[in-house]
Amino acid sequence: MRLAAFDEMLPEVSGLRRPYSAYDRWLKEQDPARLTEKMQDAERVFRKTGITFAVYGEQEASERLIPFDIVPRIISGNEWRRLTQGIEQRVQALNAFLDDIYHRQEILRAGRVPRELIARNEAFLPEMIGVRPPAGVYTHIIGVDIVRISEDEFYVLEDNARTPSGVSYMLENRETMMQLFPELFQKIKVRPVENYPQLLRQSLAAVRPQSTKGAPTIAVLTPGSFNSAYFEHAFLADQMGVQLVEGQDLRVVDGHVAMRTTEGYKQIDVLYRRVDDSYLDPLTFRPDSALGVPGIMDVYRAGNITIANAPGTGIADDKAIYSYMPEIIEFYTGRKAILGNIPTWRCSEPDSLKYVLEHIDELVIKEVHGSGGYGMLVGPAATKKECETFAKKLAAKPSNYIAQPTLALSTCPILTEKGLAPRHVDLRPYVLVSDRIQIVPGGLTRVALKEGSLVVNSSQGGGTKDTWVLDD
């Protein structure tokens, strides 16, 4: 299947786009053989530094590289300004929604979001009702997935408000590009992303508990070195200059969360956790979890630790809630959403289910709670048999699924053995929320390396690119 997609570098209709003009001039002067060499250099750098990720269910390749493409994805200053306005509005609404949903639930009273969507949702944590996190921030670190389908049309595909990953790739991709092509960065003014770890640290410090005396102690909580994103956890802790802790290092001491050090227990004020809600506290959630800290929720409710992101934020990026985001944004900000949603069929609704089942070969169908591209169906790319099997799963538990039209995601060229070739991309900018909202100019561009493929997830054979926001 081939969709006529908008190419961000060289659209068929209008020719080379302006943001790429300087890069294109440089590219034309390059020897293709040298570029191929640079591509191999990049892979060596990544393997040497151990920037790998684990793929679940693949024993052979327990450590794999995410393929990196050396052609940057370039966004003009103007395009970026528009995007950031939309993202800021969205993130404000997400936090307001979370505060509301765990307190007065005005939006449910107003009938803008159906009550049963919340009450029966596993991502909604009753334990968080009435709990106000330090500084009133629920989701501190957000990765908003954005797709583009034409010169002017951007859509939000997903709001990752729990524990978005991938920011280390944004940073390492830039680092690698600067090592490979230093001359490019002298010719073209690209806005820096390197200060993300410092911003993250400042942002986390700003939301410390009120009771914190002096400079707060911050730590990153990882499930451990066998987790697929362990590299990123270690990378961020390292870059921020904070401790990387595991559940086994922590316990509750005198009403605070403390880590076991060579000098005894030391209090932690802010915990950037990369462990899912259900594993956070075996006394409150999954009793079999060894990844969390028994009693941390009591400390949290007493206001003695900041957990970023707050437990229960999943209710805001749930795929069933997603379809209500336009209403949610308008409800809390009083304005129409600047960044649109992709039209979404909620399979829990009988009319929608009927439509989806009838058009299964045209749609993208996702699990409401799934992530990483697991458990989804891309109708146009699936075989008849795959569609039939999926239809059965869907009919058995409709409320578990949503469906969206198959969009012609924009493309961006990648370097292949036969030269440049267009591939579909998306974009995940990273947003930090404290007493202000900060968005690092750039983000992670994910690219589907297979010709025609629309699935950009790294676990499904996607790669990444450096993302440039021009200082123009």
């Binding site: 270690a234 802790a237 401790q243 802790v245 290092d249 050090t261 060579t262």
Partner: protein, 313 residues
């Protein structure tokens, strides 16, 4: 201040890097001896396995003490937790866990050593390639050590790492001596046969000291000098005395930094004082084997105390 788990990771990372290299050195010495063919090679390989502390697990798997079997078992068999490959793998897993405590250069040198040894030891080693494989192992660990010494800040991270290195090294040297202690006993030393000469050289070779020995002592090998060199010489980097000088020093740094002394401080200082005051004659008078057995026991105790005192486990 470090996480107890981090201190533990640093300590074991360095013990295993040291061990990976010691295995290569032991095989190297064994290979030398076997090549001289002055005595049964299988006996020599057996004593190599004894020094490596792997004789029991080896005999469960093999019946023949051949160069190929022993090299395979000590260098590449990952079911032997002390083999070079298993050690590098464990060292790297620990390094991954404590990555934030390491400089980029140190981490990369460990990661690269792991990648290149994994490639090199993927298939059984052809006997003709054994010397170059042993060289490569020593080179990789030397690169790790170089990156480590060249880039790491001299703080508690460095101290815990060094504790691992020297506890492992002291244990290794003491074991090598203990396995061969009988060839060093004065009662037979007057014989000074060719066989003894090879045996003595083998001991020195297994701690990479066969050349430097001659810079310190006579050109002739004398068992009392060899024992003195490996036990009491404060400048010989693999001697027991040298290890304890640095163990005491790094423990002292930690004690000063944290403002607290523990049981491990007393244990290390006691052993150091005993080595400093001792003469090789005294050691032979009380019995070399007894001396070494006591030393190995105390050294193990020191390792346990460090883990306990600094909340490793």
């Amino acid at each position: 201040m470090l996480l107890g788990r981090t201190a533990n990771g640093l300590y074991w990372m360095n013990r295993y890097i040291e061990r990976a290299e010691n295995m290569a050195r032991l095989v190297d010495a064994g290979l030398r001896m076997a090549l001289t063919r002055t005595q049964s090679a299988s006996e020599e390989w057996n004593s190599v396995l004894l020094s490596a502390g792997s004789d029991v697990t080896f005999s469960q798997k093999y019946s023949d003490y051949t160069a190929a079997n022993v090299a395979d078992f000590l260098l590449r068999d990952t079911s032997n937790p002390s083999s070079t490959m298993a050690s590098i793998e464990t060292a790297r897993n620990n390094a991954r866990m404590v990555r934030t405590a390491l400089t980029r250069e140190t981490w990369e040198s460990i990661n690269e050593a792991w990648m290149s040894l994994k490639r090199m030891l993927a298939r059984p080693i052809d006997e003709r390639d054994l010397p170059s494989v042993l060289d490569a192992i020593k080179r990789e660990t030397a690169l790790i050590r170089g990156s480590f010494y060249g880039t790491m800040l001299r703080n508690e991270i460095f101290d815990f790492s060094q504790l691992g290195t020297y506890v492992e090294r002291a244990d290794n040297t003491a074991r090598i001596l203990d396995v061969k202690y009988y060839v060093l006993l004065p009662s037979i030393s007057w014989v000074g046969s060719t066989l003894d000469n090879y045996q003595w050289e083998s001991i020195l070779r297994s701690v990479s000291a066969h050349r430097s020995y001659r810079w310190v002592y006579d050109a002739d090998y004398k068992p009392t000098n060899i024992a003195d060199y490996l036990i009491l010489n404060v400048r010989m980097p693999r001697s027991l005395m040298f290890c304890y000088r640095f163990l005491s020093e790094h423990l002292k740094f930690l004690g000063d930094d944290y403002g607290e002394r523990h049981a491990c401080h007393a244990t290390a200082e006691k052993t150091q004082a005993m080595l400093r005051a001792g003469s090789i004659k005294d050691i032979f008078d009380t019995g070399l084997h007894e001396f070494l057995a006591n030393f190995i026991r105390d050294n193990t105790k020191l390792g346990d105390e460090i883990a306990q005192d600094y909340r490793f486990n």
